[in-house]
Amino acid sequence: MTGTADPLGARAHARAMGGTVVEAMPTVPATRAGDLPSGVASETMLWDETIGPGDYAAKEIDRGARLRLVDLRGDACVSMLIFNAERPIERLNVADTIKVQWNAYLGAGRLLLSDMGRVLMSIVEDHARTHDVFCGASNEAANARRYGIGTNWSAHPSARDRLLLGAAKFGLGRKDLHPCINWFKGVRITRDGTTELDQGPSAPGRFVILRAEMHVIVVLANCPHVLDSRPRYTVTAVRASAWRGPITPDDDPIRTASPESERAFLNVEEYFRR
């Protein structure tokens, strides 16, 4: 008995749902978000959204903004794409990211580089230390093999399909789905090249804070890691929060950490020299 047999009844039914609170939802406006890091004022909040198991989200944030990802329950796996919001033809390049920095593992102080020799984002804090640039997003076929069904409209959507939808909201398509980063699920490489996944679960509450060094679009998908061996589709919610912040100064320790880093920031400044 929902009373939806006529338009007014349907309207009343629809409106009665407003204000429902669940775990996986955005805080709107973001300035109402609670449990902010110390020193972050409510009025600087740009985004606050809890992304549930198998869900996705995308957000444009400006240069200087901070993006915090919190693995609320210890089993998040957040695949991320990054685009230059002004010119999305410039995007994250994971090969350049590890090659230019001479290291395969992400952590505090590392840069996330674009394919144009610029730093899109940098990692200012990392309290998880288990991330992956090698294994990428799950796809429908991989999820079908593990979970029986992997379609986007099933209970086991793939990270690739979720990233596609997030990117599509900005006019981007299949060709724009570049190799991604996976936050919170770590992959290490052994001497013979083997990938070793730390699939968790980990302690709840681990987080990373990224700093946008350009105007960026971030696309996030929260799906089980493609190498997760558990037979059930196992992934838990992640909270994404962003707030305004200052543009990185010349003496920033991440910027001055290496000659490659210095030039990545110099290239950003040249880009904004207009």
């Binding site: 590890i98 294994c135 990428g136 076929a141 991989a142 190799p179 090249g193 990938t195 493609v226």
Partner: protein, 221 residues
Amino acid sequence: MTDNVPPLPGRIVLDEIVPARAPWDHIVRLGETLRIIDLEGNQSADFLMYALHDDAERYSAQDTIAAQRNIFLRTGSVLLSNEGRAMARIAATTVAYHDTIGGACSCESNTLRYGYHTKSHHACVDNFLYANSRHGRGKRDMVSNINWFMNVPVEPDGTLGIVDGISAAGLYVDLLAEMDIVAVISNCPQINNPCNAFNPTPLRVVIAAPDPVPEACSTRS
């Protein structure tokens, strides 16, 4: 220089030299084998491939690594697309392993790696863009590639780098196409690291088709 290379079985449909620093592309049909020969030794052959009938489906380094749980490409490695489908497999190679994490050199990344004086050097991304531009593909079609004959070890603490090669003159890789593909090579022009032993040299590419099925054996009714 390549006298020690055994002949590819089947009908040779193409046998070309890719000059030093040049791009190259060609269709390779299901069942055909593409052989890439390192003529003079330690010459990185940067490689991408696209599904012929839907070029939004393309080689995916990450899918390939995840499926084989290893970053190195060796004999037997199956090269997967971003849709998780087999595009090709390494039917044979005389090099111990090949790279697929190091990506392609670009004018822009050269500025980070070596300084601004290298911005004008020839680079693989430019070669890929040039070859792809003639087929309606562009920068969106650039993804992590394969570097045949290139050596990128990862140390226990994650330190990695392009180091002296493990290839040599006459070594090769044979790719058996598992679908109709467009193969694109950038014969790497990089002169600032050991990927080409600081001296770009030519490659040889050969495509062999399977011998035609004798009429009596065909399933035609």
